[in-house]
C-alpha cells in the first residue's frame, strides 16, 4: 500500500493544480485573444496597445474567402450581424478617453472586459448610454481624482483591459456606412485631451 507521506504530497499537488487551472481558465483563454490582437490583428497587422481597430470591410463582405494572413480571431465562429472592433488597453501609464460618434439609434456596444477573469465591468453603447456622441474616461485601479467635466468615468478593476466594439450592419449596402462609424470609436490618452 501507498505510504501516507506519498499520498499527502500527491494530494496537495493535485488540489493546488486543480484550483490554479480552474481559477485561471478564463485568464488563459483571454491571454490567447490578447496575443492575437497585439500580434496579428485581423490579419492586416498588429493592433498597438491603447488603439482600436475594426475588421476590414472585405472580411465582412466575403467571409468565405478570408485573406491568407487573417488570424483565427477573425475567422473563428460565424457572425454576420456586427462589425467587430478590438483593442487592448494598458492603463498603468494613465487614463484613456473613449470617444464614440453619434450612432443615430443604430445598435452598437463597446464592451470592457477584465482579462483576468473574463467578466464585463462596463458597457458604453445603445443599451446602457444611448447612441449620442460622447467621451468616457477609462481609469485604472490606482487612479484617484475626478473626471474632466462633461466626461463620464469608468473605473477598471485592472490596468489591462480587453475592449470589444460591435456595430450593427443593417444590410450589404449599409456596410461602408457602419464601417465608417465603427472606425470613429477611438481612444486618446487623457493628457492629449485639450486643457486637462
Amino acid at each position: 500500500m501507498i505510504e501516507p507521506e506519498h499520498l499527502f504530497i500527491f494530494g496537495s499537488i493535485m488540489l493546488v493544480t486543480w484550483f490554479l487551472f480552474t481559477y485561471n481558465w478564463p485568464r488563459m483563454i483571454l491571454y490567447v485573444f490578447k496575443r492575437a490582437i497585439l500580434g496579428k490583428g485581423f490579419g492586416d497587422g498588429p493592433i498597438p496597445i491603447n488603439t482600436l481597430h475594426t475588421e476590414p470591410q472585405t472580411l465582412f463582405a466575403d467571409p468565405i474567402h478570408p485573406p491568407a494572413s487573417a488570424s483565427n480571431l477573425a475567422t473563428t465562429g460565424v457572425n454576420r450581424d456586427t462589425l467587430l472592433t478590438v483593442g487592448v488597453l494598458d492603463l498603468s501609464k494613465g487614463p484613456q478617453v473613449l470617444h464614440v460618434p453619434d450612432m443615430n439609434s443604430r445598435y452598437y456596444s463597446v464592451q470592457f472586459t477584465d482579462p483576468s477573469n473574463n467578466t464585463v465591468f462596463a458597457y458604453v453603447g445603445r443599451r446602457t448610454t444611448g447612441t449620442e456622441a460622447g467621451d468616457y474616461l477609462i481609469t485604472g485601479p490606482n487612479r484617484k481624482g475626478q473626471a474632466p467635466s462633461g466626461m463620464k468615468q469608468i473605473s477598471s478593476p485592472n490596468n489591462s483591459v480587453l475592449v470589444l466594439g460591435r456595430v450593427l450592419v443593417e444590410s450589404d449596402v449599409d456596410l461602408s456606412n457602419a464601417h465608417h462609424l465603427a472606425e470613429q470609436i477611438r481612444f486618446t490618452p487623457l493628457s492629449q485631451e485639450g486643457s486637462v
Binding site: H6, F10, I13, T22, P26, V78, V120
Partner: protein, 222 residues
C-alpha cells in the same frame, strides 16, 4: 464517428486509465517516488480541473428544444467555478445576458444530428420571433463552425433579411441544402454535410431574460 460512440470510447479510455492508475498507485509500492507524486498530482489535478469545469458547465447549461444556452456568464460577481464553466462553453470575451443572448444547436427537436442530407424548418408562430430591443439572427455554420458557401451568398437570416410570413402570420425558415421552391426568401442555405446553428438576440426582451421564451425546435421535414 457519432457523438454517442465518442462518449462510450472516452468512457472506456477513462476506465482503463483509471484502473492502471489506481493499481500502480495503491498496490505497487516500488513505483512510488516523490517525483511520481508531483508529476501524477499535476496531471490528475489538470484533468480534474477540465472535468469539473465540463461537469459544472453541463449543470449550468439550459437545453430546451435541442437549443443550449447559459444564463449569467460574464457578470463581475461570478464565482471561479462558474467562470471556468462559462469559459468552456463560450471560449472568448463574452457579453452579459442583458446585452446579448446566444443559443446554439447541432441537433433537431428529437435530438438527431443536423445534416444537409435532410430538410428542416423552424416555425415561429405569429408574434413569437425572439423578443428584443435591438436585433436577432439565425446563423449557419458547418461542423467546424465556419461559414457555408452557397449560391445566394446568404450566411444568416435575421430581422433584416425580409422574411415573408405565411398567410396565417407564421414565419417558417427553410433550412436545407437545395433552394426550397417558392420559399427562396425564407431559405437559410445548409451545407451537404453536418451543420450547426447559432441564434443571437441582442438587447433581449424580458421574456428571454426570465426564461419564459423558448426557442422553437428545428423540425425535420424530409
Amino acid at each position: 464517428m457519432s457523438g454517442r460512440t465518442y462518449t462510450y470510447l472516452a468512457a472506456l479510455d477513462g476506465v482503463i486509465i483509471g484502473f492502471f492508475f489506481v493499481y500502480s498507485f495503491f498496490f505497487n509500492p516500488n513505483s512510488r517516488t516523490v517525483r511520481n507524486d508531483v508529476v501524477q498530482g499535476f496531471l490528475i489535478g489538470f484533468g480534474l480541473a477540465f472535468v469539473t469545469a465540463q461537469i459544472y458547465a453541463r449543470i449550468k447549461t439550459k437545453k430546451i428544444n435541442g437549443w443550449t444556452t447559459m444564463f449569467g456568464c460574464g457578470e463581475p460577481g461570478n464565482g471561479f467555478l462558474f467562470r471556468a464553466a462559462c469559459a468552456q462553453v463560450f471560449p472568448g470575451p463574452i457579453n452579459v445576458q442583458k446585452e446579448a443572448m446566444y443559443w446554439t444547436t447541432d441537433v433537431d427537436g428529437p435530438g438527431h444530428l443536423l445534416s444537409g442530407e435532410h430538410d428542416y424548418i423552424m416555425h415561429f408562430p405569429a408574434g413569437q420571433l425572439p423578443p428584443n430591443d435591438a436585433f436577432w439572427s439565425l446563423t449557419m455554420g458547418d461542423e467546424h463552425n465556419r461559414f457555408v458557401p452557397n449560391p445566394i451568398n446568404r450566411y444568416s437570416v435575421s430581422d433584416r433579411s425580409g422574411l415573408v410570413p405565411n398567410a396565417d402570420g407564421f414565419i417558417d425558415i427553410y433550412i436545407q441544402n437545395a433552394a426550397p421552391a417558392g420559399h427562396e426568401s425564407n431559405w437559410l442555405p445548409a451545407p451537404a454535410g453536418k451543420f450547426i446553428l447559432w441564434l443571437r438576440v441582442y438587447q433581449p426582451g424580458a421574456a428571454i431574460l426570465n426564461g419564459e421564451y423558448h426557442v422553437p425546435p428545428v423540425v425535420k421535414v424530409k
